[in-house]
């Protein structure tokens, strides 16, 4: 079987399009590349959806945590504490079994036990909590002068937030937020190894890498392929966030550009 044929058969295997059966023996490099790459679709899907939705919720949580009113502050603090203080691995298990027991009582929760929805919800809560802490830190370090200037211009309430506080918060938080995004994408590999079943062997990149490693008992080929894919993904995320960073800082003097310094946020 030629490599083109393999790509046609397996490039979209992870979302159920193409050849039904996975290769069983005599694995070629091409098959490993194609299937693991196919699994990346899931990683990108999980990461992108959780990140986009989480961004807005994180902003709300950060504002809640910075609020002076206890009924806004306390729930936000607890939410952030619970999702940052416990391992994501346990959160996946807990979320899955929670949805499983809800499903047995209410038919409405049927799709929640599938990875495409359930895992996204867990990842969404997790990244919201981590990003909220980053945004909260940024809110605390907004220069006093910026807010005073906004007051002097007669801006208040929503328009002050929208035009002054929010952009400055994002600008300050962006380097750490980039790290958060990178590690969120890495965290998506936990979905199928924790609890969520890969229905009809439609799994993510790690699922297929593990499949090959288990079948061939040779970890030295599939895992480096997986690593390569993730390094490419990381570079793409860094460059996309770099573009956003440039835009957020476009009004600053050019001689001291805010360089994104990548610090490891590590795994959660």
């Amino acid at each position: 079987m030629s490599c083109i044929q393999t790509i046609q058969d397996y490039a979209l295997r992870s979302i159920g399009i193409g050849e039904r059966l996975l290769p069983r023996e005599d694995f070629t490099l091409c098959e490993q590349f194609t299937l693991i790459g196919s699994g990346m679709i899931w990683n990108i899907y999980f990461g992108t959806v959780a990140l986009l939705l989480g961004f807005f919720f994180a902003t709300a949580l950060a504002l809640g945590k910075a609020s002076a009113r206890a009924f806004l502050r306390k729930p936000s603090e607890w939410f952030i504490f619970i999702f940052r203080g416990s391992p994501l691995f346990i959160q996946f298990f807990f979320g899955y079994f929670l949805f499983l027991s809800l499903k047995s009582n209410y038919a409405f929760f049927d799709p929640f036990t599938a990875a495409w929805l359930g895992a996204v919800i867990v990842l969404f809560c997790n990244t919201s909590a981590y990003s909220a802490e980053i945004f909260y830190g940024a809110l605390q370090s907004i220069p006093k002068g910026d807010v005073e200037a906004a007051d002097a211009y007669g801006l208040s309430g929503w328009s002050r937030f929208r035009r002054v506080i929010w952009p400055t918060m994002l600008r300050l938080a962006w380097p750490s937020y980039t790290n958060e995004a990178i590690f969120l994408f890495h965290a998506t590999t936990l979905v199928f190894v924790s609890s969520f079943p890969a229905w009809q062997q439609r799994g993510d990149a790690l699922y297929y890498a593990k499949y090959f490693a288990d079948k061939t008992f040779n970890p030295f080929i599939p895992y480096p392929i997986l690593a390569g894919f993730f390094i490419i993904l990381t570079l793409i995320v860094i460059s996309l966030f770099g573009l956003a960073n440039r835009r957020l800082n476009r009004h600053l003097p050019a001689e001291r550009p805010q360089k994104i310094r990548l610090l490891p946020n590590l795994l959660r």
Binding site: G85, I90, F97, L206, A209, Y223, L267
Partner: protein, 307 residues
């Protein structure tokens, strides 16, 4: 993989005298009997496994990190490249991939080396298609060794894997801390006529810890939160037991039948980790307060003013 564990624990050993016939009791008494069965004892022991892992991995990762950071600063180019690649690789790749990779790779690496040393006259290739074949004497652990050797070997592999992955994170922190030591300190040492090794040992390393501590504290929290991944490495840890014990039990196989309780077991694990991280957070904050006392940093200055 050589370490699928199966401790044959007696389920009948009762702690409380009223537990002899669980079907007759209910309420709190039933619960106390249920939570003290042999398998639950195994669950409590596995908490100790987690703590043992943390106790061993912490220093080991620090050692790996120190090595990595020193290598990344080395004046010998290949050593420097090695150190920097080691640090950079873990940043770009999900750690779970590393865990899954190293646990097999280390196992095979050890067996390969033993094979080369113990069976020199073996002429067949080690990789035959999908099989990894070494001679009997090179098997690790030996096929006829007792259960505890298998368990210890599995645990040791897990510790080594954790140390390699977290060593890279620690190396990153220590590398940053080494660069944070003011240059003048090193230049002064040079002016005193110390050579590179002396500067490293007498000036750089003692001063770097203050800068490294926040990062290392952070790393500790991350390490705690990574312990459930032991489950993926094939060790029977708390996640394994929570899944095992939580699943629904029928009266035919157990004295304590119950529906699917896994959600409650994982809730308990969640709370356990929350408390554990919270305590660590408080201890680290305390330690930092202690260490910044009298330091010429912003935090130290703030403490001086407050006093």
């Amino acid at each position: 993989m050589a370490f699928k564990l199966n401790p044959q624990l007696s389920t009948g050993a009762a702690i409380f005298s009223y537990c002899t016939d669980p079907s007759q009791i209910e309420g709190l008494a039933w619960l106390s009997c249920y939570l003290s069965t042999g398998k639950h004892m195994a669950l409590y022991w596995s908490v100790l496994t987690v703590l043992a892992l943390l106790a061993v991995t912490g220093p080991a990762a620090l050692a790996f990190g120190f090595g990595g950071a020193s290598a990344a600063r080395s004046r010998v180019a290949p050593l420097r490249w090695f150190g920097k690649t080691y640090i950079a690789l873990v940043r770009g790749v999900p750690d779970i991939a590393f865990f899954l990779f190293f646990v097999i790779a280390l196992d095979q690496g050890i067996e390969y080396l033993r094979h080369k040393a113990l069976c020199p006259d073996w002429d067949q290739p080690i990789r035959q298609g999908n099989d990894f074949i070494v001679c009997q004497a090179a098997k690790m652990p030996l096929g006829n060794s007792p259960q505890w050797v298998h368990e210890t070997y599995g645990f040791a592999l897990a510790v080594l894997t954790f140390a390699i992955v977290f060593g890279a994170f620690a190396a990153n922190v220590l590398y940053g801390a080494m660069r944070a030591v003011p240059r003048e300190q090193l230049e002064t040492a040079e002016a005193y006529g110390m050579n590179h090794r002396q500067i490293f040992r007498r000036v750089l390393v003692p001063q770097m810890w203050v800068y490294a501590l926040p990062g290392l504290g952070n790393l500790w929290m991350v390490l705690i939160k990574a312990t459930p991944l032991l489950f993926l490495l094939g060790v029977e840890d708390i996640v394994y037991w929570a899944r095992e014990l939580g699943g629904s039990k029928t009266p035919r196989f157990t004295d304590y039948p119950h529906p699917d309780w896994r959600i409650w077991y994982f809730l308990a694990l969640l709370v356990f980790y929350l408390i554990f991280t919270r305590i660590s957070e408080l201890v680290i904050a305390r330690l930092m307060r202690r260490l910044t006392l009298g330091q010429a940093t912003t935090a130290g200055e703030a403490q001086r003013k407050a006093a």
